[in-house]
């Protein structure tokens, strides 16, 4: 049997039972590899459950710095009898299977093409530890110790990490270190360590990652920090996976960084609302009053917030909403990732509405875009929705470090204070003085007798007086469209990369790929795979809606454009078709909507298939749209 080999280039997956303490041990494993300076991307694949159901932790190690999922498993560590049959099947031929052999492996789980390593985890822990809870918890640490021997993880780093983890609970360090050593020694004694797949910090193909001194953090924490740095003072929310940790993290940072030193009082307000309707209502009320306010939610919450989003759009109240997407609809699969709220967010609410969307792809972007969302919302006086997802929000990602420019000033947009109101000749809340569709706001209480007005939905004229006249309505909604046009020059532009040189191209077609958010990492990898195979593909990463003009140009410049996303209906493709007036056949969907993040192999396979079947019959566009 030919075993899978490779230095710093493999996929390890842990199969555990939820609620057994595996998460922190698995995190220890991934963090140690990160500390060794080797690119790693861990992912929790977990159930909507507190205890008992299967959970997995997949760790991609990639010397080239690919942080998306590759697809396939090279080494499976399985301590969950419920899933063992499927887990054995999922190992690539030539791969490895590590398991607890306190009970012997069932004969039908034996494969000829993979290598088995049995460790009597339960037996070892029963023998060495007296407390029942430790017998359970430390099994996880024992297997991390064994993995350290099998893959050559720096043992000192593991011990340092344990010391960090148990700071303040020093009593726990000793049994944990002992468990690590038990596993390490067992593997050294019984297995051919190291395996052909292993780690080596000297082997490195991704200088950009080492140079920028990457950090390891999840997107939700980064977004929460963005809200702190962006000056958010009001957070209103209703608990919903996978967005809950945004407000949890905001709360933790705010308690540390936002207490008034003189009075001990809070320079922030966090309100756990009775539902998402109220959460958005609180944000609208606070923003109307001039505070920076935000909420975080997921699909079902977005649906409930739609009514208020429409009001905020028409009343022109800034709103920041962080949507951490999950599988929908309704309860869907609440702990599985998707990018399936695109259309619901872009056109949320009744009437003619369109919203500004931001698409972060890294924790660094979650931070930057959250800050930017507050500026954009106030500049444009409209809701801004940051479209994260479970994969980005809840998993640890290697990311360029967060950066802050101390000269940053909050851009509060066009707000008239008392002085400005005194100086203004005429003022009407909805008068488009500057021609960019953005009018001048006033805040309640600003001036004793100027600038007050009654905020409503749509029935008003330019002076904010109640009106049901058709022409007033039309003038208003047309101006809102003009404002949306202005937004194009405010939002982050798409990222375009230099094409990968392809020596002997197998196609004459000009190929392009569009993607966004967590689809980006595996898309970059897939494009490299396909370039090796002779298919040159230009790429553009979308970072905002409304779309930048370059996106139209990109689509029109290519014969065939793949839109890579994680939902069933190709929602981004639809949005592009709708907004850029592009013939449907020009855009080909590359999709994954299983709830687990899309892999580079899936993307490459779907593009290959599309080229095989469609390559010959590319639609010639009508000259007017081309």
């Amino acid at each position: 049997m030919k075993q899978i080999a490779g230095i710093n280039d493999f996929v390890v997956k842990f199969a555990n039972v939820n609620g057994t303490g595996s998460a922190s041990a698995n995190h220890l494993f991934a963090k140690a590899i990160f500390r060794m300076g080797i690119p790693v991307s861990p992912r929790n694949i977990f159930p909507s459950n507190i205890q008992g159901l299967p959970t997995w932790y997949e760790v991609r190690v990639s010397s080239k710095g690919y942080l998306g999922r590759r697809g396939g498993v090279d080494l499976m560590l399985c301590v969950n009898p419920q899933t063992m049959e499927d887990d054995v099947k999922s190992v690539e031929p030539g791969g490895y299977f590590v398991y607890d052999n306190t009970r012997p492996l069932a004969p039908h789980l034996k494969r000829d093409d993979i290598t088995y390593f049995g460790i009597p985890l339960t037996e070892m822990c029963m023998r060495e530890f007296k407390v029942a809870r430790l017998q359970q918890l430390l099994k996880n640490v024992v297997y991390v110790g064994a993995m350290a021997a099998l893959l050559e993880i720096d043992f000192r780093i593991l011990k340092d990490l344990l010391s960090d983890q148990f700071k303040g609970k020093e009593k726990l360090i000793q049994p944990n270190v002992k468990a690590l050593e038990m596993g390490y020694q067992f593997a050294q004694k019984n297995f051919p360590c190291p395996l052909p797949i292993r780690l080596d910090p000297k082997v490195f193909d991704a200088p950009h990652i080492r140079e920028s001194e990457h950090i390891l953090m999840n997107g939700n924490t980064a977004a929460a920090l963005g809200a702190i740095y962006g000056g958010a003072t009001v957070a209103a929310w209703y608990p919903i996976t996978p967005s809950t940790s945004v407000v949890d993290a905001f709360s933790q940072y705010a308690e540390r960084m936002r207490i008034d030193p003189g009075t001990g009082k809070k320079n922030f307000a966090i309100l756990q609302a009775e539902d998402e309707l109220a959460a958005m209502g609180v944000v609208v009320g606070a923003s109307w009053n001039g505070a920076r306010a935000f909420t975080a939610t997921s699909g079902p919450g977005l649906s409930l917030m739609s009514e208020f989003l429409g009001l905020a759009y028409f009343a022109e109240v800034p709103v920041v909403l962080i949507d951490v997407q999950r599988s929908g609809p309704s309860t869907g699969m609440p702990t599985r990732s998707q990018q399936s709220d695109i259309l619901a967010a872009a056109y949320a609410s009744h009437g003619d509405t369109k919203h500004v969307l931001l698409f972060p792809a890294t924790p660094r972007e979650c931070f930057d875009m959250t800050v930017q969302a507050f500026d954009l919302a106030e500049q444009l006086q409209t809701p801004v929705i940051m479209m994260s997802d479970l994969d980005l929000g809840m998993n640890d990602w290697m990311s360029p470090p967060l950066e802050w420019d101390d000269s940053y000033e909050m851009n509060r947009g066009k707000v008239l204070d008392a002085k400005a109101l005194d100086e203004a000749e005429t003022w009407g809340r909805y008068l488009d003085v500057d021609g960019d569709g953005i009018c001048y706001r006033t805040l309640p209480g600003a001036h004793p007798d100027k600038g007050s007005f009654f905020t409503r939905g749509s029935s008003k004229d330019e002076m904010a007086i109640y009106s049901e006249k058709g022409e007033d309505y039309v003038q208003n909604v047309d101006r809102l469209l003009r404002k949306f046009e202005t937004a194009k020059s405010y939002v982050p532009e798409p990222k375009v990369h230099d094409p990968i040189p392809v020596k002997k191209p197998k196609t004459k077609l000009k190929l392009g790929a569009l993607f966004f958010g967590t689809s980006a990492s595996p898309s970059y990898e897939a494009v490299e795979i396909l370039a090796d195979e002779g298919y040159p593909i230009d790429v553009m990463r979308i970072r905002a809606f409304p779309f930048h003009r370059d996106l139209d140009a990109f689509v029109h410049d290519h014969d065939m454009v793949f839109v890579i996303e994680q939902n069933r209906d190709g929602q981004m493709r639809q949005l592009i078709m709708n907004e850029c007036h592009i013939a449907p056949d020009k855009l080909t969907s590359v999709l994954n909507y299983s709830g687990t993040p899309i892999t580079a192999r899936t993307i490459a396979r779907q593009i290959r298939e599309a080229l095989d079947t469609k390559g010959a019959e590319i639609v010639k566009l009508h000259p007017e749209t081309a």
Binding site: T233, A286, W404
Partner: protein, 349 residues
Amino acid sequence: MSYYKPKFRHPNLPKNDLGYTVADYDGSISTLCAGCGHDSISAAIRNACFLSSIPPHKIAKLSGIGCSSKMPTYFLGKSHGFNSVHGRMPSVATGASVANRDLIYLGVSGDGDTASIGMGQFVHLIRRNVNMTYIVANNGCYGLTKGQDSATADLGSVNKYGGTNPFDGIDLASLALLQGASFVARSFSGDKEQLEPLIRAAMAHRGFAFIDVVSPCVTFANHSGSTKSYAATREHLDAMPVDFVPMREEIRTSYREGSSQSVTLHDGSIIHLMKAREDYRADDRTEALMAVQSANASGDILTGLLYLDPNSQDLNQTINLATKPLNKLGKDELCPGSRVLNSINEGLR
């Protein structure tokens, strides 16, 4: 209805402490039906704010949707207002109040807006004790959609189309008392002698002040058989008069003549309960509930100050909110800067 509001004002209109006349508290002309109870409430709000010398621009008016929620256009034209979403004004008011604790918040809602679509937000508003006055103009029917029964319509009340309401009505004052509201009153739009001081006391109260105002719908619920018509309300009215003395006035005696009890609000203002009911005490929640329930049982409408907790702790106190309004905080108070961020990065390596 009128379609023109004269601009002429008597040149010697009396002025309040701020130098404003009552006209400075006017709004635009009402578009509600002539005789609508809601217009009397608007007038009472205007007079109350004038008498209490509240700077109009320091008040924020919020409403939901419905006839009642159109009202804020018709008073306090110098105040900002927000006609929000049906049943969801409480959340907007909550957000506004934590964003700027220096303004006075006045919510105006209706029985549909509060007791049906907005029931969830209403009880949570009470639960949080948001510092605001919340007035329900309660007529037991939906006006803008032409006379359907609302959730506060009394059992057996006859609607415009002759149908008899088969459901028990929701009594918002009892609900507010049960849920722990710190100020609960009921009044009648036709009783401005009582309504004005109640509104003034509510606006002086720290915390959530609720006033349920029976406000007859002249178009859809003012016929015989309707329990919320002018005639039926007057016939069954059991009014407890109140008087309000703002903090600025010198208080000579703690009991005004004719009053049975006086309660001092947190800002030093005093509300007097007059002697209509010798035995009634406004600081006993249980007694208030029993009084309302027994009046309801006998078909009477008990109005007046039902309950007041002068030591109420509002949301701003509960969440230990900064003294400076959140919307006035600048970069220095909000943004921790690059050094802190660099140390956070360090902790993530």
